[in-house]
Symmetry: C2
Subunit: 442 residues, 2 copies
């Protein structure tokens, strides 16, 4: 093993193993050594396990995040005069918020440089959803990205090998060494990508519940607090909302279906929960961007942009700038459609109590809408449409959901049916936004 | 990652990470996967860190040991009718016990199939010491090894790639991933090599003090107890002695010097501490081998073998069988000698209180007797001879030690001098054998 600046990687691992707090230089040296090849994969994985089991201080998490951030290109978006704010969600089922939120907020005067991910497991990814728009490109260099953000207000792309390459390699390693579920490692990974965008502020949507990565409120709260603390220490304005992900968000799960639902929201037709989630996050973005003075004015501005069609027009401009067919905005029937529709019927009358978001996500994956492994392809057309959301009354035999499929899939239909719990009385309504975490939250 | 027998290596790492107890199948599958290439180095190192930080039960340690043992050839020594017992030391400074103990015990009717290691850091290795005997071969195949043990009673060789290859690879990985100092991992590593020798019983010399791997009594006792418990669970008769390694053992440190001291012991000329250590371990070997009924008879038999020359004659036969020049036994001046001798003088009169074994070991390494890295060569001739042991009175200006060197080495002479602490009164005598651990010890 060669040493960098006199630091032996084995001794740095040992320090973390024994519960010591690593210095900025130790972490930066270890990560750069990894990128340069003087720290081996097996040393990084031992370090990740030590970090996982010993935990990390905020200072260590900031150092790790910055080391990964500076392993690649950090955009400055200098040519853009105006507030630059992005949103990141920890991922859920039916979460198409980015697709409607970016044009909505951009139409209100906020610049949104957005780097998104692809779906894996039971959760979908913004890039897969956007890919259902004919011609839409999410791969481009930093110069084109900056131009589009400047000219039309928002641009939605995928992580390139230029952005935080150390994070990309470390993430792949974590995936096969059982070191994924560590809050400091998750926080450093998320923020290293988001801070490469050149943003002033970041709104985080930390999902909690069956369909989310964090299934319990305590874990979600800890993740949200750490994201806000570490992001703030790194010099950004950061706010997190903790939102419910026990049932799918909106009525659609599947790529083209979700894109259509996002476009419908911009046109003023949206399920209440999806609108609530989008507007709540939009308010935070407008407040961080300081384009409105208070929450009420922010909401007013957002609702006006939907009502007067400016959000939809911004979406058309984004799609056109990114090479896609903008006609989908006014005519969503241009999106891919599956050849077959299967209904799932209510086995008895009553009220929908819950819809297990994880089971719905896994069902959509089974239909081909999601991927079990990173290299799997996805089918844009297939998915699940929920016809009866929690709280709604259903009659025995009435349709609960529709499956959009390529071939009859009775096993998946059964799985979707099992995701519904129907009770005799309406369930107690649950708030969608569970908590709001700012750098002043104690 | 491909899975073996349906076991995903990432899930096995995760189980250990979360503090679960791994089953025999999980451990065997993981280690075989590593040997076969379906478990990657970075997965093994993450697992080792999880094992290090979460600890391992005795059952897990036995499984790991047996998985490593059966990754290679396990000798049975079927052609040898008689008790087969070996000794293993955790390593110290001046520890040449194997070289005198093997022929001594063999001359008493115990078969000693001994696989030894090379030196690293401040501690020497038996193989390096034996290499100072002209022509002595420590590399041979299992058939020759068995023949020599059968014909002359003992054979001393090095670990080959046939013996516990999984341990060899895992050990190399531990060395660069800060996962060395874990008692279960140490125990599994030691026993996987020793049990490949086809022995019935094993005596362990667990060293404690400045010159040892374990510097505190608590750690040494835990290591000794775990070695005995795990070895016993694996079906062997196992006893451990915990012996003092605060000062170097005997008077010589350095390869040829130590070989000479070991030969001197067989000829009835030995420092008291070296004789005590050798005979204490020899007694345990004779008792495990059941060639004598009790400790007193065992000691009697060992002392007789020294007195009547049969131990020395066995040593001649071993050296001859292993291709070496047996004349060194009666004429140790045939061993390599350094061209220069430097004296280190007592700075004041008094009594030697302590001699820091670690400092002496590092000094010998600096002279060229040991290696800092596994690939470094060693010089057989150089080393340090201690003239005044703890408890002995010295006059100001009298020699404390002699350095056998290639070139004048005043810095090392200073380092040797600093290792001596001289006090006004004789120190309180310390027992060499601190404790004895058997499977019945609580």
């Amino acid at each position: 093993m060669t040493a960098r600046q006199g630091t032996n990687p084995t001794l740095v691992i040992q320090k973390k193993r024994d519960g010591g707090e690593l210095s900025r230089d130790e972490i930066v040296g270890f990560v750069s050594g990894y990128v340069e090849g003087t720290v081996a994969d097996y040393q990084m994985s031992a370090m990740l396990m030590a970090m996982f089991l010993r935990g990390m201080s905020d200072a260590e998490t900031v150092s790790l995040m910055q080391a990964m951030l500076h392993s690649g290109k950090v955009m400055t978006l200098e040519s853009i005069r105006g507030p630059k704010v992005d949103k990141h969600s920890t991922g859920g089922v039916g979460d198409k918020v980015s697709i409607c939120l970016a044009p909505l907020v951009a139409s209100c005067g906020v610049f949104v440089p957005m780097i998104s991910g692809r779906g894996l497991g039971h959760t979908g990814g913004t890039l897969d959803k956007l890919a259902s728009i004919d011609g839409f490109r999410t791969e481009m260099d930093g110069r084109d990205f900056e131009r589009i953000v400047r000219d039309v207000g928002a641009c939605l792309i995928g992580q390139t090998s230029e952005i935080a390459p150390a994070d990309m390699r470390i993430y792949a390693l974590r995936d096969v060494t059982a070191t994924v579920e560590s809050i400091p490692l998750i926080v450093a990974s998320i923020l290293s990508k988001k801070l490469a965008e050149g943003i002033d502020g970041l709104v985080l949507d930390v999902k909690v519940g069956r369909g989310a990565f964090m299934q319990d409120g305590k874990g979600a709260r800890k993740l949200a607090e750490t994201l806000v603390r570490v992001g703030t220490r790194a010099g950004k304005r950061v706010v997190a909302l903790i939102t419910d992900m026990s049932s799918p968000l909106g009525r659609c799960v599947g790529n083209a279906l979700e894109t259509r639902e996002a476009l419908d929201l911009l046109a003023g037709r949206a399920p209440a929960d999806l609108l609530e989630c989008t507007v709540a996050l939009g308010e935070e973005m407008l407040l961080l961007a300081r384009v409105t003075r208070n929450r009420r004015a922010a909401r007013e501005k957002l609702m006006t942009a939907i009502r007067d069609g400016s959000a939809s027009r911004t979406m058309e401009r984004i799609i056109e700038a990114q090479g896609g067919d903008p006609r989908v905005v006014s005519d969503p029937s241009r999106l891919p459609r599956a050849p077959l529709v299967m209904s799932v019927q209510a086995p008895r009358s009553g009220f929908v109590a819950t819809i297990d978001a994880r089971e719905i996500g896994l069902s959509a994956m089974a239909l081909g809408a999601g991927r079990a492994r990173a290299e799997d392809p996805v089918d844009p057309a297939v998915g699940i449409e929920i016809l009866a959301k929690p709280g709604e009354a259903v009659k025995k035999g009435a349709p609960l959901a529709r499956l959009h499929v390529r071939t009859p899939s009775p096993a998946v239909a059964d799985q979707v049916l099992r995701a519904f719990r129907i009770g005799p009385r309406p369930p107690r309504p649950k708030p969608l936004v569970i908590d709001r975490i700012t750098s002043r939250t104690r």
